[in-house]
């Protein structure tokens, strides 16, 4: 056994415990600054542990093959740590809206959820998958309902709890069925025997149930119902982490299950994936049109983006998987930028209505530009990250269409186009509210703290970097996708 492989996860859990302990020693009014210490610690882990030849970036398996470190897990571990750092920045700005002094607890929960995501990135076994998913989900139950005094937050927490528990039940049931028929839980071992069970209805039902559980995490149709309500009610940093971290964790597990555990089944389910992806895109985009609440709008848009990401999964090819990873990387900076602006601008408003952005171009040109760039990137317009990601996804789908001759893929590509065009409407609606709304009542300038500025510039740089210089991240993504093709 090679326990040194999990040194990164152990450090992160240790960090979470230290943050909880710090609660005892730091006076309530200074607890906000604990977050910066956590950011620094994660930054050190990112640079020292996960850079090219860092101590935690060696490959191998541990715990009888339950835990694997490979290019795919490395990609996602970097992704999750960057996401957590940006969420911690956001949480530090958000601390005045949480119950007095409870911010240290909030920080530590974020770090624990991060640990769950790191384990998810490395899980190569259904037990590991379930444990890591539960670590993420249960932490999120608390994170979602963290504003205990706010009815909406509690409502969101309860909804997330009930539906999350339901989907966990499905997943456990599915795992049990898979284990019952095949006797295997390890992905690699399962892949070897899965073709024998291609006709076993119980085995297929098991895989389907696991898909249900993961579909809940990524908000894919028809398990997307929770997303808008929870996005709207949860504290903004939680929503951001849910939109990026939790979704990405769902996708890494989905990719592992579909392409390393049961590839033989996956290839028969191409049409199912095509249909789900198409409906998810249309549902998310169409439902986003009438939304007035900004977080709810982003909730629906996140469903639509889950649909776009599923394009790459449905393509069943290495280029499709690489496209999913690339798109997620762009999505990370884009969504973080949008939620950062929401957290900063709508600070004193009871609701997060789009009209709250009115006059933002005069109140804070930097925030107005950030929100605009984020919306443009989500809409997939060059030269930003979203465009290159969508280009890769579309390319992979058309490639598969030409290789397999399945016309469903062409229909899917056109559905995605329809989605993109619909989405222009509501994304530009947000931009319009920022620059051309006449009903601005509050024109007081918004003061930004230095850390907030740093995180915003990181997001902007990320969006342009992935849009203009895709080479490096694309190479990482291609490396990572090779793992799945084995």
């Amino acid at each position: 056994m090679n326990a040194s492989l999990i040194s990164l996860e152990i450090s992160v859990i240790g960090l979470g415990l230290v943050l909880m302990l710090a609660d005892f020693f730091v006076p309530a009014e200074r607890r906000r600054f604990i977050g910066y210490a956590a950011i620094a610690a994660l930054g050190v882990l990112l640079v020292a542990g996960l850079s090219g030849n860092g101590s935690c970036s060696q490959f191998g398996t541990a715990f009888n093959g339950m835990f694997v470190n490979d290019a795919l897990s490395l990609f996602f571990k970097r992704f999750f740590i960057v996401a957590a750092i940006l969420v911690l920045f956001m949480a530090a700005e958000f601390s005045d809206r949480l119950a007095a002094g409870s911010i240290a607890e909030y920080y530590s929960l974020i770090v624990f959820a991060l640990a769950g995501m790191l384990f998810a990135a490395s899980s190569n076994d259904f037990t590991m998958l379930f444990v890591s998913i539960e670590l993420i989900t249960i932490t999120f139950y608390v994170l979602v309902s963290f504003q205990r005094g706010k009815l909406q937050s509690l409502e969101a927490g309860v909804k997330y709890l009930i539906l999350g528990a339901l989907s966990s039940a499905f997943m456990v049931f599915g795992i049990a069925l898979i284990w019952g028929t095949t006797g295997k839980l390890n992905f690699t071992e399962l892949a070897a025997v899965a073709p024998q069970f291609a006709d076993s209805k119980i085995f297929l039902l098991g895989v389907l149930f696991v898909l249900v559980g993961l579909g809940f995490k990524i908000a894919m149709f028809p398990f997307q119902i929770w997303a808008p309500d929870v996005y709207q009610g949860a504290p903004t940093p939680t929503t951001a982490f849910l939109a990026v971290g939790s979704k990405a964790a769902g996708f890494v597990l989905l990719l592992r299950v579909l392409f390393t555990a049961v590839p033989s089944v996956t290839h028969n389910w191409a049409n199912l994936l095509i249909i789900i992806s198409g409906i998810t895109i249309l549902y998310g985009n169409l439902c986003a049109i009438p939304q007035r609440n900004l977080k709810r709008l982003l909730g629906y848009s996140s469903i639509a983006h889950a649909g776009y990401l599923l394009l790459g999964v449905a393509a069943l090819s290495a280029s499709g998987q690489a496209a999913v990873l690339y798109y997620l990387a762009g999505y990370l900076f884009t969504v973080m930028a949008a939620f950062m602006v929401i957290a900063l601008v709508l600070r004193h408003l009871a609701t997060e209505d789009i009209s709250g952005l009115a006059g933002l171009s005069q109140r804070s040109p930097l925030l107005a530009a950030t929100m605009t760039i984020a919306m443009v990137s989500l809409a997939g317009i060059p030269p930003l990250a979203g465009f290159f990601g969508k280009f890769l996804l579309l390319k992979s789908v058309i490639e598969t269409a030409q290789v397999t001759g399945n016309h469903g893929y062409y229909c899917l590509a056109f559905t995605a186009l329809a989605g993109v065009i619909i989405s222009l409407y509501y994304y530009f609606g947000v931009v319009r509210a920022i620059y051309w709304s006449k009903s601005a009542t509050d024109l007081s300038p918004i003061e930004l703290s230095a850390p907030a500025k740093v995180s915003i510039w990181v997001c902007i740089a990320g969006m342009f970097w992935l849009g203009l210089f895709p080479n490096m991240v694309l190479n990482f993504a291609n490396e990572a996708a090779k793992v799945l093709g084995k």
């Binding site: 317009i381 579309l394 058309i398």
Partner: protein, 527 residues
């Protein structure tokens, strides 16, 4: 660094620089925008002058790898097909920046968008990489929507913005699917256009793949170019657009789709192009005749110009559909000529709107007395629009008709009628109703473009029309050899009796016939 990088790069750099200029420094903002487009235009003239006609391959090339794993690189270069387009684009952009004095609100954002649009479209024309070709066009397209939505005029502004955004996004995305399918199907594993073409010479695309991809490109690009019946966004959009935007879009950006068809679709999808040529030819009758009739009925000057600009696109499609050297050369000529013309007419209508606050033809009249310079310029533009010899449009249209005659005689007859009779009718109506006749009293206080700066854009565009009208050789010498290459590829495998420029002796005979045309045209033009 290639001169092309500078031509497209200066406007983009200036756009970046404008971000940091405070918004109340209006003069400086305007000066930066005008200066950047002026440098672009001067460099474009220099490049045009240094271009060696008939040289093998591309000139002023530059290639920087961008994404190696996908074979995407920043690759620019010019041959005879795009050298004139880039010159036209840069001059129109300079004129548009000069005309932007009419924008009085949020100047900073307007100039940033104008510069992004300029840089994007000049880069797209120079680009020899499929990805950047699309990427830079998209970069230029999106500012159009914002400019129309924010600085547009009239009650129909929101509807027109909505429609143009929807139409053009759909067109661009359909073309994107076509381009991706083409990249994958070519098997060359690169986005580099010359390499794909080279690869296709030995491994042509399967015919059924061609038949799938060609319509995607034809209708995707066709929507962008307002091919009938997908044209309804154009008159409406131009009707409400601020005039610099209309100038750049109708003049330059719209030519992107046509250029894409000639540069990419014809050489790579020859069989499909041959079988779709009839469809294109008959659709362009819709442009020329139907939209021409619609233009006759317009009561608003901008809608009339918009419709006439859609009608002119028909000639270019006809030239492309004829699939022979003369037709394709003519198509490129009209693309350039129409770029100057569309920019000129929208700039003039913008001036009149600024002065009178209306473009209803019935309310105007006798303006030539108060606006001698603008009125004369409009008169000349109208004459150029109905194909009067002496202007570049005549050269292009006549060439297209010569080329199309052999391929589609009936279409050519109908189009000739559309060009000469219908075009003549609505253009002379414009002149009579707007420039001549009694001057309504309320227009007594309007004033003509007085300073040199104000006159410069109109004079520049008119001069360009006249220069290429009298000396089409400047363009045809450059276009001819490269159009020949395209036509050779597009007609490969076609029956010998339909081929107008056969591969063996095509060069000479085509040169001969074109030279003959010119010698016939030029005396007429100088009369």
């Amino acid at each position: 660094m290639s001169i092309l990088t500078y031509i497209a790069g200066w406007p983009l750099l200036a756009a970046l620089a404008l971000i940091v200029v405070p918004r109340n420094y209006r003069v400086i903002i305007r000066a930066i925008a005008v200066l950047a487009t002026f440098i672009s235009a001067v460099l474009a003239v220099k490049m045009f002058a240094q271009f060696v006609p008939g040289a093998n391959g591309f000139q002023f090339e530059q290639q920087i790898p961008w994404v190696e794993s996908l074979g995407i690189s920043y690759h620019v270069g010019v041959d005879g097909l795009n050298v004139g387009l880039i010159l036209m684009g840069a001059i129109v952009a300079f004129a548009a920046a000069l005309c932007s004095w009419e924008i009085q609100t949020r100047e900073k954002e307007f100039y940033i968008l104008l510069l992004v649009m300029t840089g994007g479209i000049l880069g797209a024309f120079a680009s020899l990489d499929l990805f950047f070709f699309y990427f830079l066009h998209e970069l230029a397209l999106v500012p159009t929507f914002i400019m129309i939505g924010v600085w547009g005029r009239g009650e129909k502004k929101n509807y027109a913005t909505f429609q143009i955004t929807l139409y053009l996004s759909i067109g661009a995305l359909i073309a994107l699917i076509g381009l991706i399918a083409l990249y994958l199907q070519s098997g060359a594993n690169t986005f580099d256009i010359p390499k794909i073409i080279e690869h296709a010479k030995t491994n042509p695309l399967a015919v059924n793949a061609q038949n799938f991809i060609f319509p995607l490109l034809l209708f995707g690009f066709g929507i962008l170019v307002s091919l009938w019946p997908f044209h309804s966004w154009a008159p409406l959009g131009y009707g409400v657009a601020p005039s610099p935007t209309a100038m750049l879009h109708a003049g330059v950006l719209k030519k992107f789709g046509l250029y894409g068809l000639i540069r990419i679709a014809l050489p790579l999808l020859p069989q499909a192009a041959q079988s779709w040529a009839h469809v294109i030819a008959w659709l362009c009758v819709g442009n020329i005749l139907y939209v021409g009739w619609v233009a006759m009925r317009q009561k608003d000057l901008n809608l009339l110009i918009g419709n006439s600009s859609v009608a002119h696109m028909g000639f270019i499609f006809l030239g492309i559909a004829s699939l022979n050297l003369i037709g394709v050369t003519g198509a490129v000529l009209i693309m350039i000529a129409h770029g100057f013309l569309a920019a000129l007419t929208f700039a003039l209508s913008g001036y009149i709107y600024k002065q009178t606050g209306t473009l209803q033809i019935s309310e105007l009249g006798g303006l030539c007395r108060k606006l001698p310079f603008i009125g004369t310029a409009l008169l000349m533009a109208a004459m150029a629009g109905c194909g009067l010899p002496g202007f570049a449009n005549f050269v292009g249209e006549a060439t297209v008709f010569f080329g199309a005659w052999k391929a589609f005689p009936w279409v050519t007859v109908l189009s000739l009628w559309g060009a000469l009779v219908i075009g003549g009718i609505y253009m002379t109506r414009v002149i009579r109703n707007i420039l001549h006749g009694p001057l309504p009293e309320k227009w007594n206080s309007i004033s003509d473009a007085s300073s040199t700066w104000r006159k410069l854009p109109y004079a520049l565009l008119l001069a360009s029309l006249l220069v290429f009208g009298f000396l089409p050789k400047l363009l045809t010498d450059k276009i001819n050899p490269d159009a020949q290459k395209i036509v050779n590829m597009a007609t490969a495998g076609k029956n010998a009796d339909v081929v107008i420029a056969p591969r063996s002796s095509g060069r000479e005979s085509a040169h001969y016939s074109l030279a003959e045309n010119q010698s016939r045209l030029t005396p007429a033009a100088t009369k």
